[in-house]
Symmetry: D2
């Protein structure tokens, strides 16, 4: 593939516009699924109708909506998988986030690649996720983060990024960990740690990053109304929100943070990931 | 003064309620100038009508409104200086923030004490002010603070508090300083510095803390539309906002931050300051 | 195993004494292979001759010396594998660091366990290793770390621990990384990164953590005499020391740092690891 | 003064050589009072015998030795005040550190200027002093600074620089302060504080920066043998060293740290200060 790739960015929220901007600096980029006025004129996007078909398409995270159309929250119209396929070469690669069975069916015969499964993307997203979580805490709390007793559950990538930021605020940070590995990771970041099953409730703010219920009714009861919970875990979350509500505990489930609080950074991370994957493929196949 | 002081908190925004809460743990505290439903029942405030008159009164920052009444944004009714004086002993101390000539007239014969002139209060307010400024940046910017090129103008108390927080975010922080003292203070905080008159415009975000116009039309022109300005300086501010608007530069003048973004911390700082002043007076006069 | 374990700490440097002290708080601990006057009297170590035989033995890192005896740098006498076996139960566990074929032969029939292969131990050792590396830099350099341009090669556990410490000193830290994963890890720690094959030589201090030659003659030439190199990589190291010497570049190979610069912490980490392994075994086998 | 100044650096330790190197980039610099082989050949120092006399002289900190000669620890020979005066213009300025009556007499009729009285110099020296203090702690302690309970007495410039560094190590830092100002300064640096007269002895390491005896026998007794004291205060120091010795407490009085542990940085700070003073004088007098 000597000539410059042609990439079609199709649908999604503002992140995908920023993703397209970044991609347009190294590739020929086209956009569909966005209202005209949202597309920045400074970028030299080509019209999707121009010239030869595209080499690949970049679809959004959760690419299909309930009706089976491409998810296009920034578009008055709608686009289908067929509309996209009509603009692609037969052997095109389809990039998308959280690919499911329905998308596989819609793009049968195409090579699909889930950029959300890239470890680098998830590591990079840790920073905007952590910043977004801290932003929520600042918005919600009538007190300063300075001196606040903060518990971070889990010292994975998001927990570690949170630890760095909160140390800067002068919070009194403790990590809740389950293993000697977690303890050691806490030390590397210069913070205290406590074993998950020995937590007491003496914290003003809790960030959960563990993707399974840790804060059940009993444990929530130890904390009480004065603690704010912010859950950053995806799938089932780590907090029993019903129990929290009954106990008068404020618990916020913050999903999709990178896209919401830092759409430019988030879009650029998707673009960087797509570029890395394309570059790797080229190196592998010559 | 052996017996417990009786302090009257009169008027102001929610900060003064939190101030009253803190004061009520060491003194007998009464509140006027707030709607009933705003006053937390957990605190044992006395009714202002109860028993002996009060030893001192705590008025808000900018204590009088335009009509010359006590400023009471959280009260449907209104209270005058006379209403307060009727509840006080003749030799009472009147605490207030930013005392002006009108207040001196209204409380002629009383000892007045401006808690906003306390160095400790202003130092303590640096932390909620810096946190509030960072909150604004997080709310406004579509990118992460991580890796962002940030300029802090002035390494006084607020500049220094900002430096600490931004280092935690992994921002690329530079201080703009005017003297060898500023350079040295930057080094203590582990950040780079540049001389104020040698600044170039290569920054994504600028926090100004200098209380005089630094960013005039010429200097703003060097920065351009991509830079967000947040001005934390009180009196005249440090940015020519008209020029900024004409140049298409977003500039936010963030005034009264501690009270807005961290009212509890802010109210407690006022209370701590009042307590310190009372304690000092007692130590001085026996 | 309901009754308290009896553990024999046999040989090694001062680390093993501190390891024994920590173990003695949860187990019955005995020591051999140390001169009497080195053993702190405050600890209640039992004599190795006392009562029933031991349940397990903790040997040092690199347990055998060249003569095939247990390594005992703190002992005027000498002890052999046989001496130890005489004090053990037949089914005892032998803990040691860097177990080789010779040790396996010497303790044939016993269960051997290499504590240096524990991920938690290696993670925990990252902190004393990084602190020791910074101590060397402080001892060697006639300038402050504040403002110094420092390159950390590798963002593994030691590189990450170094980043945290150097940020506190206000150094201008860059990580040299080889993958998007390394870049992302740098962002989590709030530092810049550069691709390993795009490094220029503009650094005052380089810490290498990569366990293969990165700094060959050509690359060292780009740095020159003004840069101090500290190599923390174990096996072959990451610097061509001969080339460095010829180029007049000071390069220090810092091996075994945790034991040298923080023997107490280092001994306690070995003890914690042994305790974790014993506890896991008990949980597994009931 | 249009033409380039001629500055004579006379005597002192290695710091003054580095001071001379920095000065030689903006001025014509000459050196006396150092053995030939110590003077780096890369610098273009002029011989003191060359051409016109010098405009000013820079003498070391504590400029005279006991015999009343210029202090020259790096020189086999000796130089007197007269030797220097013979090389100077009549209206020369004499820079020196800690000027006393004897120096005033020796240079009667000359304008004397004590660079150690510069606030900027003292602020800048805070960083090398704090780094040197941490270096001593690393050298002395057999444990890591990570997780260590450290008390910093005084939140002046050195205390603040120490706080920054120790936070990077992940130490558990508390500041001992005497006023609300100290408390507020601690918050800006994101660390806890305790009132000086309410300190308990639960610290592993104490840095004193207060220039008067705080740690008397009674207070030292509360700490005990397990605490390491490092005193950074100049004049009388803050620790009763006799009492410490009797109580078996290790206490180190670390004087002149910037010059010892970071002579290059320290010499450059002196040079920067001299340059600032000369520049100010020129601006003032035209």
């Amino acid at each position: 593939m000597k000539s410059k790739h042609k990439i079609l960015i199709a649908g999604g929220d503002m992140r995908q516009i920023y993703c397209a901007s970044r991609l347009s600096s190294g590739y020929i980029a086209g956009i569909i699924g966005f209202d005209e006025e949202l597309i920045p004129s400074v970028n030299s996007f080509i019209s999707s109708a121009e010239g030869t078909p595209f080499d690949c398409a970049v679809l959004p995270v959760l690419p299909l909506d309930e009706a089976g159309m491409i998810s296009t929250p920034c578009f008055r119209g709608s686009i289908s998988a067929e509309d996209i396929k009509n603009l692609l070469k037969p052997d095109s690669i389809i990039f998308a986030g959280r690919i499911d069975e329905k998308l596989r069916e819609a793009f049968e015969g195409y090579q699909l690649c889930d950029y959300m499964e890239s470890e680098a993307l998830n590591l990079k997203n840790a920073v905007p996720t952590a910043e977004g979580a801290v932003q929520i805490a600042l918005d919600e709390l009538p007190v300063t983060l300075s001196g606040l007793r903060v518990l971070i559950v889990g010292m994975g990538r998001i927990g570690r990024a949170l630890a760095e930021i909160l140390k800067g605020f002068g919070s009194d940070v403790t990590a809740a960990v389950r293993s000697a590995r977690g303890t050691a990771n806490s030390r590397i970041h210069g913070i205290k740690s406590v074993c998950t099953d020995k937590m007491d409730g003496n914290y003003d703010l809790v960030f959960n990053t563990a993707p399974h219920i840790i804060f059940d009714r009993e444990l929530l009861g130890r904390f009480g109304e004065k603690t704010l919970f912010i859950d950053l875990a995806s799938k089932p979350g780590g907090i029993d929100f019903d129990a929290a509500a009954e106990l008068g505990i404020k618990a916020i489930w913050a999903l999709g943070l990178p896209g919401k609080t830092a759409p430019v950074t988030s879009g650029e991370i998707i673009a960087e990931t797509v570029i890395d994957i394309i570059t790797e493929m080229e190196e592998a196949y010559g």
